[in-house]
């Protein structure tokens, strides 16, 4: 059932960003509330940086200006540690926005998530940076947003289920005692806003299952061990999986064409 056309008949890219922004509000509010003024400063730096690049590219390319960068800034601000020097955030976010989004022509024209690029560049360039695991309350605050994005048909439940199944399955096989809820809930934020990002995920039905399974596998591999999923694991896992998304889609298209041909032959007994 598609709910979106009833709610928003013709949603533009701006509308997609707006819905994503609404879904980001509760986890952002909780993380600011928990971590205090240091977080506020980082959020402000992230917003200024992202909007700055939006403005620069809108004026150079003479496009209509949208606030797409805000969602990238918020995702990054929630995931980075509050002790991070502001210039490191500004630098990596600039690279993420420009390389992940603007050089392709803006939101939706690229094939990777700018937030995942920004965070992985941050972790690779400044190895001393350690991402803090998300608190249980921030993770729970993500849930309303998850529901909103699933119901409006922006993100695919298949990707999410596939990734969660692999993460849970691997953790369970390594240690049957593992607390699956405590393992899975903190990964929700990263899964929804990095792995399930519609721009970077696979775009065919069966491709989404495969992409979700692959992302889950890579997230488990990139984490410390399969029983403790880290934010860094989610970031690198999502980024690597999204590199494979176009290939997965291409294979699905080939398989579908083959199936169509077989079906056509099956329906053609006398001709």
């Amino acid at each position: 059932m598609i709910v979106r056309p009833v709610l928003f008949p013709s949603l533009g890219v701006g509308g997609v960003s707006l819905l994503q922004g609404v879904a980001l509000l509760p986890p952002l509010a909780l993380s600011v509330f928990e971590r205090g003024s240091g977080q506020v400063v980082l959020l402000a730096v992230a917003l200024v940086t992202a909007v700055f690049w939006d403005l620069v590219f809108a004026s150079v390319r003479k496009h209509r200006f949208y606030f797409h960068g805000i969602t990238t800034a918020v995702i990054v601000a929630v995931l980075v540690p509050s002790a991070l020097p502001w210039w490191q955030l500004a630098l990596s976010l600039s690279l993420g926005c420009v390389l992940g989004e603007h050089i392709f022509g803006g939101r939706g024209f690229g094939f990777l998530s700018p937030a995942a690029i920004c965070l992985s560049l941050l972790l690779l360039s400044f190895p001393q940076v350690q991402l803090e695991p998300l608190s249980q309350s921030v993770a729970l605050a993500t849930l309303p947003g998850v529901l909103l994005l699933l119901v409006t048909g922006l993100i695919s439940g298949r990707v999410m289920l596939g990734a969660l199944a692999v993460i849970g399955g691997l953790a369970f096989s390594a240690n049957p005692e593992v607390d699956l809820i405590a393992l899975v809930v903190p990964t929700l934020f990263g899964l929804v806003f990095l792995t399930c990002d519609p721009v970077s995920a696979a775009s065919t039905k069966s491709g989404r299952w495969i992409y979700g399974l692959l992302a889950g596998l890579l997230i488990s591999i990139f984490s410390k061990d399969v029983a403790t999923i880290t934010s860094a694991g989610i970031i690198f896992g999502s980024l690597t999986a999204s590199v494979f998304a176009p290939l997965i889609d291409h294979l699905m298209v080939l398989a579908h064409a083959k199936r169509r041909q077989m079906r056509q032959r099956a329906r053609q007994p006398n001709v």
Partner: protein, 424 residues
């Protein structure tokens, strides 16, 4: 008789009140009727009349210059008011207006229809202007006069509660509909599929005439969905589709000798004063028909009059040849938050492959790869993906859902024209 298929994919039906199906209001006040390029794309007419000529109902107004056998008949008695050409002398619009003079009789004559087994049915349908009622699949064009389809699909489904119900429309025409369906068997060696709602029995079935039952989302009312389920097409295997009202009119012609120009249409939509069924002529002027049917809401200054339903229809001054609905919508917002939220209209935006697109097509084609192939005009990729099964109305849901604002119907038509050109 074939089984019942419930179509679950496609856009959900809109939530407005269903219309009262029990009464059909006769509207004889359509002041004008027209043949439009939107229905007959690329058709170059060879005219039988000139502006100011008086025509009777059923008179041949023009024929296709490429296939002179294919004739187009007037649906209204009056004078030819204007003839406009588009690029390369294609038809843009031919308008017939009712004049004040006495209503002439229709052009009935008690001619013999010829031996049905020896192409008599085909010749009569061509000569009396019924050939344009058929559309080929692939390509969605009027068939060539000598072509033989692998099957014919009669679309007698009701796409949504806002469309006329075939059981109501055919209530007093069952005999004519049956006659029409039987006549279709002379045009093909293959089966005739009568696609209808599960509760209806509109005609008797036989070895050649098969019943197929469809229900579900509005996409269950599209011929493309029926064809994809029952008889997938390819370049070598062409089928035809035709609407049930046209079939009944064909039956009427062969039973009485009269050209039946009237069809039942529904008027519905959020801005319609009172959703209802009306009977008027093919191609009737929408503004005259909708006089007094519109209520303006939300402080807007105008409403949009659509020929067709809210998803597949378009704004038009006259009812489209293949449409059965008139939909009255709010005019889109011109400024403010909702205007900013909606898609850019000038330049194409990005295509964000959201999960909602996955279920947008009721036909077995991958939506996002198809949209990508269409938006770059890659005919070979689109053909591989199965675009031959589609016409504009099938991909209207993609246009509605996509963030880019691209008109996939138009893009599909370009690709289909390209593919058709290669096979001719």
């Amino acid at each position: 008789m074939l089984g019942h298929t419930k179509i679950k994919k496609g856009l959900p039906a809109s939530k407005e009140d269903a219309l009262a199906q029990d009464v059909v209001h006769d509207r004889r006040d359509a002041g004008s009727a027209a043949f439009l390029s939107a229905d007959y794309r690329g058709l170059r007419p060879s005219l039988s009349v000139s502006p100011g000529d008086r025509v009777r109902v059923g008179d041949i107004v023009f024929t296709d210059r490429k296939h002179p056998e294919v004739a187009f008949a007037a649906s209204l008695a009056g004078r030819v008011a204007s003839i406009d050409y588009g690029a390369r002398r294609t038809l843009s619009a031919l308008v017939i207006e009712v004049d004040s003079g006495e209503q002439a009789d229709d052009s009935s004559d008690s001619e013999e229809f010829g031996d049905p087994d020896n192409g008599g049915v085909r010749r009569t349908l061509l000569k009396r202007g019924f050939w344009p009622a058929f559309l080929t699949r692939p390509f969605g064009r009027i068939p060539k006069p000598d072509s033989v389809p692998a099957a014919i699909f009669v679309n007698a489904t009701q796409a949504s509660l806002h469309a006329p119900a075939p059981s109501v429309v055919l209530e007093h025409q069952k005999e004519k509909f049956q006659k029409g369906v039987d006549l279709l068997t002379y045009l093909t060696d293959g089966p005739i599929y009568v696609c209808q709602a599960p509760q209806d029995t509109l005609c008797t079935f036989s070895e050649r005439v098969k019943g197929a039952f469809f229900s579900g989302t509005p996409a269950s009312g599209l011929s493309g969905t029926h064809i994809d389920q029952l008889h997938p097409v390819s370049l070598e295997r062409q089928v035809w589709s035709i609407g049930y009202q046209d079939v009944a009119a064909i039956g009427h012609l062969f039973l009485t000798g009269h050209y039946q120009p009237n069809r039942v249409f529904s008027i519905s939509g959020p801005c319609s004063a009172e959703p209802k069924l009306i009977r008027t002529c093919l191609g009737a002027g929408i503004s005259q028909i909708c006089n007094g049917e519109v209520t303006i809401r939300n402080g807007r200054h105008r409403a949009r009059l659509l020929s067709g339903d809210a998803v597949t229809g378009w704004e038009s001054a006259y009812i489209g040849r293949y449409h059965q609905q008139i939909t009255i919508l709010d005019a889109p917002p011109e400024k403010g938050f909702w205007h900013w939220m909606s898609r850019p209209s000038a330049a194409y935006g990005a295509l964000i492959p959201t999960a909602a697109l996955e279920r947008a097509l009721a036909i077995d084609v991958l939506p996002v790869p198809l949209m990508r192939a269409l938006s770059v005009g890659d005919s070979a990729a689109a053909e591989r993906l199965g675009c031959l099964a589609l016409v504009e109305e099938d991909v209207a849901a993609l246009t509605k859902l996509c963030t880019s604002g691209a008109d996939y119907g138009m893009l599909l038509r370009d690709v289909l024209d390209d593919l058709a050109g290669e096979t001719v």
